[in-house]
Symmetry: C2
Subunit: 304 residues, 2 copies
């Protein structure tokens, strides 16, 4: 199976602690890297992760609270000092460019690479980015300020050639690409060999859904259905349910409910409030609803 | 002796590494805290230091390179989330306000405290701040962009009463404050007892000088003369002297030369280039010129 990994650079919430950094994650799909959110200190955590700086091409920002974007200017400055040349693409609400550009102009004069903004509107439910290997769709979350989640979905890969059947029907090598892409084979005698006899189906495309920050809102299940891995914020324990509602955040139990309702295969919870010195209480509460739950943690990697 | 400490929050240079954070220091003078510079990640390092957030009243920014100021917005946001009410004073070149204010307006709406900017001009050599216990003077450094150093100087404290002599001359208690502040005592018989017989002199005021970032420039010795502790950047080893000159930084040996020329009691070097995985080479080079040299390090404290 090709690489599809989620690396946690930070999984704290608004107040960073000595245990948790502000939010940032890196998705590694087939050795291309994509960042989601970029709180203060992200560049240091990125360095700690030992992931390549140069393989990062795209950054997706969920919303304009500091703990999700204050690290951008430092990361970009550092890329500049390291002589990066490849364009860095930033996908975010339009306000980000207005806020970041004056800083770029002042602090990053003579930057060796281009920073390209790809704004998308509040409430967007479109695919905002795609390449050969994946598509990224935004969808609205329910926070105090405009906020969105992202679904990273692998593109279907070609079927695998069944070498024994290819030999049996004496299919010429020149036909293999067409068969990979789904065509049947017609023998010199005119006999049609259906594609399904010549190939084994590719693994079904994997899906990663990211939800942070948001109040509990079952209406959002439609956007995250059937994720192989669902990251969902779980800022609070159930004892703080009122506070969660008031601040438009989610309890661990509610995050688990979202995983159950959306048919996720696995749930990863994060964005922990600074009040918890041990997140086991959050994990335990989530697992009563959705047993296949994991705790995010800095420098940990989760495979899809 | 009253508390006068320098706490290192970060002593790396432009590229943060897994070993060093961007520049920031906290001066603790008699339990009032003053910050110099505030690179990315400062708030996390501050938390690690276990120093009080509420005792910080003033921040001094040496220049507008990211590794000296990108942490301000995050620190201020966090103070806001924690419900700070006391005004936070920021002393910096005028450009900082122009760059920071739009971010404060956007990200820190409804901030529970006031952020007050105290701009001072490029090339300033004035006392830019004073209170009952200290004065802070700015002075120009020699960097690629306008940059300044700071001298933190204790105010002289009152002389100590010599209890035995007070008893001997039967000085009434009501006279003690006047004697502390330097007056002589006149006995009921009209005999003048000189102040020097009634007191022992206070410790001489201590001085901390901070120089980062700067090229080696002996002209600047005039500003830092006689520091009890001199912090001086030592970005490079002597083998990189050309690079130091080109980038307007200092080698460890040159930092030591500044300490020697200015008659510092002790030298603390920092702002280490990311290329050194062990700064012992910098320490050794500095000590050939100025033996009483120490290496800055995150979470370390140096007393004056």
């Amino acid at each position: 199976m090709e690489k599809f990994e989620v690396h946690i650079l930070g999984c704290g919430s608004a107040l960073p602690t000595t245990r948790h950094n502000a939010t940032s994650q890196i998705i590694n799909l087939r050795d291309k890297l994509y960042m989601i959110d970029c709180g203060e200190g992200t560049q240091m955590q990125y360095r700690r992760s030992r992931l390549s700086f140069s393989r990062l091409g795209h950054i997706f920002i969920s919303h304009l609270h500091g703990d999700h974007c204050f690290g951008l200017i430092g990361l970009i400055s550092t890329f500049g000092l390291l002589g990066r040349t490849a364009t860095l693409h930033i996908h975010a609400f339009p306000e980000l460019e207005r806020l970041l550009q004056p800083q770029l102009d002042y602090f990053c004069e003579g930057l060796t690479f281009k920073v390209e903004f790809h704004p998308f509107p509040h409430g967007c439910t479109d695919v905002i980015y795609e390449d050969r290997s994946l598509s990224v769709r935004a969808f609205p979350l329910s926070h105090r300020v405009p906020c969105c989640g992202f679904v990273f979905e692998e593109k279907p890969t070609a079927a695998h050639i069944n070498r024994e059947m290819i030999d049996f029907y004496e299919v010429p090598i020149s036909h293999l690409n067409r068969i990979k892409s789904g065509e049947d084979y017609v023998t010199p005698e005119g006999k049609v060999i259906p594609n399904s006899r010549l190939t084994t189906p590719a693994a079904s495309p994997r899906k990663y859904a990211y939800c942070s920050d948001t109040a509990f809102n079952p209406n959002n299940v439609q956007y995250i259905k059937g994720a192989d891995l669902l990251f969902h914020e779980a800022t609070f324990a159930e004892s703080e349910a009122a506070r969660a509602k008031q601040t438009c955040h989610t309890t661990a139990r509610q995050a688990a409910e979202m995983a159950r309702l959306s048919g996720a295969k696995q749930l990863l919870i994060g964005h922990f409030s600074a009040r918890y010195t041990d997140e086991k209480i959050l994990l335990d509460e989530a697992r009563t609803i959705f047993p296949n739950t994991l705790l995010a943690e800095e420098e940990k990697m989760f495979k899809l």
